[in-house]
Each structure stands twice: as C-alpha cells, then as structure tokens.
C-alpha cells in the first residue's frame, strides 16, 4: 500500500486529461470548487460535466445524488483536499449507502491554492486512511501517473464506491470555467438525459 508521503506529486491538469481520456460511456464528472473544476473544463467540456461554484465541499454529495438517481451510470466526484476536509462526514455517508457506481478522486496539494496557497490544517492527515476509516475499504493513494491510470481503470471496471487520492505539485490551473450556473446545469441535465428540449443546448 502506498502511504501519502511516498506518492509522487503530479500535475492536476495532466491527471484530469488522463481521467477524461478514459471516459467512453458518458460517465458523469462533478468538479468541485475552483481549480478542480477549472482543470476539468480545460481538459475539454463534456455534456456530462458539472462545474460547481461556491458550495465548497459539496462535489462528493452532488455526485452521490447523481449516482443514486442513475445507478447504471458511473459517476466521478473530483474534489480538492481543503474542500473534502470541510465535509469529511460525506465519506461515511458514501460508505454506508455504498453506491457501486460512485468514484471519488481527491486532489491533494496540501493547500487552499485558489485563495493564495495557505496550508490546510491537515498537514499530518492521510485522506485515504480517513476514507478507509469511514468504511471505504479500497481507498488508495496513486503512487504515480501509471498507478493513477490503473486505479481509474479499476473504478471503471469494478463495483465501488471507489476512492483515489493523488498528491499534486503546485502548478496553477490552465484556465477558468465559463461561469453561467443555469447554463451549466441545463447542459449537465441534458448530458444526464434528465432533460430534453428543442432549444439548442
């Protein structure tokens, strides 16, 4: 088992591109506040992407709601470390409900990067261990890019709930998401097949 301090520090945008490249079945991806959804956007907009705004910590709960509503669709929550720290209880909820189609990806740079890079109070914490403690038995750190690819493959091929944590370097996001919340919601609903409209998406 990889422990947190042995995990290679990787580039968020590269990992996001690797994740998106593996999605072939209209999997839903919920990007958490700020940089996490910015790099999801930069990796190429998909109709099944949801880009969250200010509700810091809710990427996992939103993804859980999607996963419960559509058990046949794989759903990824991509969340920042500071954000997850704010809503750790959701890991226990996920473990208890145990949706087979949900995967959680935590982007751990150790800081609140978007607000200026201040350190989080989790310097001595291990997110995969926390997830295992909540009941997500398979929670793991990705050792490097190849290991990340392997773990994503596991999420896609096997029943979850899955939990992957990655250590990040300090590179900033590539660009910013276009912020138009009702439009983001509308497109996501079409991507989920939950809305049909003759208006152009």
């Amino acid at each position: 088992m990889i422990v947190a301090h042995n995990a290679k520090r990787m580039y968020r945008f590269d990992l996001m591109q690797r994740l998106v490249a593996r999605l072939e079945h209209e999997e839903a991806v919920i990007g958490g506040i700020g940089n996490t959804n910015f790099d999801l956007w930069s990796a190429g907009h998909r109709a099944q992407n949801f880009y969250m705004l200010g509700s810091m910590g809710l990427a996992v709960p939103i993804a859980l709601g999607v996963a419960l509503a559509q058990p046949e669709r794989k759903v990824f929550a991509v969340e920042g470390d500071g954000s997850l720290l704010m809503q750790l209880g959701c890991l226990a909820t996920v473990a208890t409900l145990a949706p087979k189609n949900l995967a959680i990806l935590v982007m751990d740079n150790g800081v609140y990067q978007i607000t200026g890079g201040q350190e989080t109070p989790a310097a001595r914490a291990d997110y995969a261990a926390i997830a295992r403690g909540c009941g997500l038995a398979g929670a793991a750190w990705a050792a490097d890019e190849a290991d990340f690819e392997r773990l994503v493959g596991q999420c896609l091929a096997t029943d979850g709930p899955h939990f992957i944590a990655v250590k990040l370097d300090d590179q900033p996001p590539v660009t910013q998401t276009e912020r138009d919340p009702p439009q983001i919601r509308d497109r996501f609903m079409r991507g989920m097949g939950a809305k049909r409209s003759k208006l152009l998406g």
């Binding site: 705004l53 200010g54 709601g65 559509q70 959701c90 226990a92 009702p182 996501f188 989920m192």
Partner: protein, 176 residues
C-alpha cells in the same frame, strides 16, 4: 378521522414523486421519518450535515430524481452559503422541510436564539417558503409549494409550525 400532518406529508411527497429523503433527524419529525422509512417508495437515509443533503438532492434532481431534505431549525441555520451558491444560483428545486424549533414554549435557549435567524435568512435568499400552521391547510400548501418549486426550478422550504405538529413538549422546570 383526519389524517395526521405526517400522513398528509407522506401522501403529498408520494403524489409529487419526491422519493429521495436525506435528513438529519429531529424529534418532531420522528413519525414522518418512521413512515418514510417504512414505505418502499422512498429512499431515506441520515447524513452527517444538512449541507451534504442539499448537495445530494441537487445532484439527484439534475439526474432525474426528486428529493427533499428534512431538518430542524438549527440545521437550516447551517445552510445559507450552500443554498445561495447551489440551488439558488443554479436554479435547482431543492426542497426543504424544516421542523420549527425555538418558539412557542421552547426550553432550549440555543434553539430560541437560532430560530430568530430562520425567516430573515429565507427572506434574504429570496426563497419561497411557507409556514404550515393548520391541518386543514397542510395538504394544499405542501402540494402547491412542491409543484411550484419544480415548475419554476427554484428551491423552496416548508416550515412545520408547532401549531401544526404540537412541537416538542416543554420540559417544565422542577423547582425543588
């Protein structure tokens, strides 16, 4: 015999296909929570925080399943940021059912203090909300509020007054 408020609530939720019920419990909501768990139509479960439940219901609605969050007044007081930035900003009909604590015989000073923040917060968010006080109005208010939330794609709150539910009985101070 008249249906109890919780039976009416259950019937209205069902009639409106509101299935997903994440909640943080409250004593007054006990009979409703028990009835929802007993009915296989619903998927009810506890969450660690009310914020989480708002996220779950928002996500589920965008993927085609309707839901409602159950909580008490103190739970609502934790929600201003996520309500503003998720259901209000994205126009998602997240429904809240709030058991009103802190008024009409409250014995807990914390509950009484937080009660005073509920209406101002709902008003500041410009959220549709209705306080249900009477059994004979219960079905109409609940049904129409839920319908309107979905038709307008906006969040809404149903506040259950102690006038409707009986509230939590006052613990009489025993002075020795």
């Amino acid at each position: 015999m008249d249906r109890a408020w919780h039976q009416i609530a259950l019937d209205v939720l069902k009639a409106n296909e509101v299935r997903l019920i994440p909640y943080v419990p409250d004593n007054v909501l006990k009979p409703l929570i028990a009835a929802i768990h007993a009915d296989p139509f619903f998927h009810a479960f506890t969450v660690a925080r009310e914020e989480e439940a708002v996220g779950i219901v928002a996500g589920a609605w965008m993927a085609g399943t309707r839901g409602m969050v159950l909580m008490q007044t103190s739970g609502f007081a934790t929600l201003a940021n996520v309500l503003a930035s998720l259901p209000c900003a994205f126009q998602i009909p997240v429904l809240l059912m709030i058991s009103e604590r802190g008024t009409m015989g409250e014995f807990n000073q914390g509950q009484a203090a937080v009660w005073r923040t509920m209406r101002p917060t709902l008003e500041a968010l410009a959220m549709e909300y209705h306080v249900v006080t009477r059994l004979d109005e219960c079905e109409f208010i609940m049904d129409r509020t839920i319908q309107q939330a979905h038709l307008t794609q906006l969040p809404a709150a149903l506040v259950l007054s102690p006038l409707l539910t009986g509230g939590k009985p006052t613990a009489r101070q025993v002075v020795a």
